[in-house]
Structures are given as structure tokens and as C-alpha cells.
Symmetry: C2
Subunit: 123 residues, 2 copies
């Protein structure tokens, strides 16, 4: 997956709001099982309708996905979309400058060998 500029703008906009950034962090840590809309809203301190609004925003921006599961709607992080955003930032926005890529390479090296389940909160 490769991000075009308008999608990247949407993604940056989505992450520029505290509630939404926390939602993404929460969902990344929740992993592939995801969480219900209500649980996410509660964990970030958003009202029912505010939570719904922000989750919809994040989904439109391609950063999370949803599926219905009985009464609940379960949201999960969209790892492909998040990876595409990191790649956009490094490649299209920052032209792959080594000064920018070097720290990314360090993080990637720290995390690359392990599977998702083994990750701690801070890599």
C-alpha cells in the first residue's frame, strides 16, 4: 500500500487531535483483536457521540478498521495504513534523507525480530 498526498494529509489531520491519537495508540496496543467502540471511548475519556465521531474520522483516514460483532462494533488498528503513513513521511515527505531515516532504522532494528504479540508498550 502506498499513500498519495491527499490521503497523507487526512492521516496527519486525524493524528493531530489528542483524543484520536490516544485511540490509535490504544488500538495498536490492543492488537488484531481490537476493541469495541464503547471500550475505546471509555479508555480515552470520550462521550459516546464524540467517540463515534473520532472513530469515524480515523477510519475515513485509513488508520483503523471496523467490523460488527453482535451488538458491538469492533475497531482495530489498520497496520497497513499506519505503515504506509510512516513510509510516506520518510520517502515522499522527507525524500529519504539519511538524517531522518537513521533513527527510524534504529527503531526498526529494535522491533524487527519479534512478533506483534511480544511487543511491549514502548517497543
Amino acid at each position: 500500500m502506498r499513500l498519495e498526498e491527499p490521503q497523507a494529509l487526512d492521516a496527519f489531520g486525524a493524528l493531530s487531535q489528542e483524543t484520536r491519537l490516544r485511540m490509535v495508540q490504544t488500538l495498536v496496543q490492543a492488537g488484531p483483536d481490537g476493541m469495541s467502540a464503547g471500550a475505546i471511548g471509555e479508555s480515552v475519556g470520550a462521550s459516546s457521540s464524540a467517540g463515534s465521531f473520532h472513530l469515524a474520522h480515523l477510519e475515513r483516514a485509513g488508520l483503523i478498521k471496523s467490523r460488527r460483532e453482535s451488538r458491538s462494533i469492533i475497531y482495530t488498528a489498520n497496520f497497513e495504513g499506519l505503515a504506509a503513513l510512516v513510509e510516506f513521511l520518510m520517502r515522499d515527505c522527507c525524500s529519504g534523507h539519511p538524517e531522518i531515516c537513521a533513527p527510524a532504522a534504529v527503531v526498526a532494528a529494535e522491533c524487527g525480530g519479534r512478533s506483534g504479540k511480544e511487543m511491549t508498550a514502548n517497543c
Copy 2:
């Protein structure tokens, strides 16, 4: 350099606007020599005062730097700040998940060996 959440929010907000994203792209490609405010504004199609507004916004967000040089004010990309943002996205926001880091590692590998001057627009 390590980004805290409020700084990261500012940085994402700064990049969520088309004119500003273009300004950053332009300045990254311009390299350490940078460009004058007027030249940047012209290259992204912004009026004098709009250009000034957006450049100030980007500087506040830690993504670019400025210095006066005779009559002109020269802006340069803040590579440290941009690198910190990539790192925040990978580490603090995405918890270093391998699914997200793997594509970043590819870009880093592509770019790591070369010096800034040799970079092409797309790495």
C-alpha cells in the same frame, strides 16, 4: 531528540495542511542551504502573508528553522525534528509493531548508505 505527545500533535497538525506539507517537502529537498521565505511561498503558491503564517506555524511545530541573511529570512528543514516525528510515530504511537516497522526498515535500508546530497527526490 525525543518528542512528547503535545509536540507530536503540533507536528501532525502542521503537516495536515497542503501548503505546509509542500513547504516541508520543498525545504527537505533544498537541503541545509535552505530557501528564503519569498522563494518558498512562490514555489508553493502562497501569498506573502499566507506564506509567512504557514512558515511560522511549521517553525513553532519544530519542523523547520529560520535564520536571517541580509534582507531575506532563510528557512531550512529541521532534520532532527523530522526524524523525531518519524521515531514518535513508530515507537510511541505504533508501539514498534513489526508490521509497521518493516516497511520503514526497507526505506531506511535504501537510504542509509548515502549522504544527503546524493539523495534524489524519491530516495
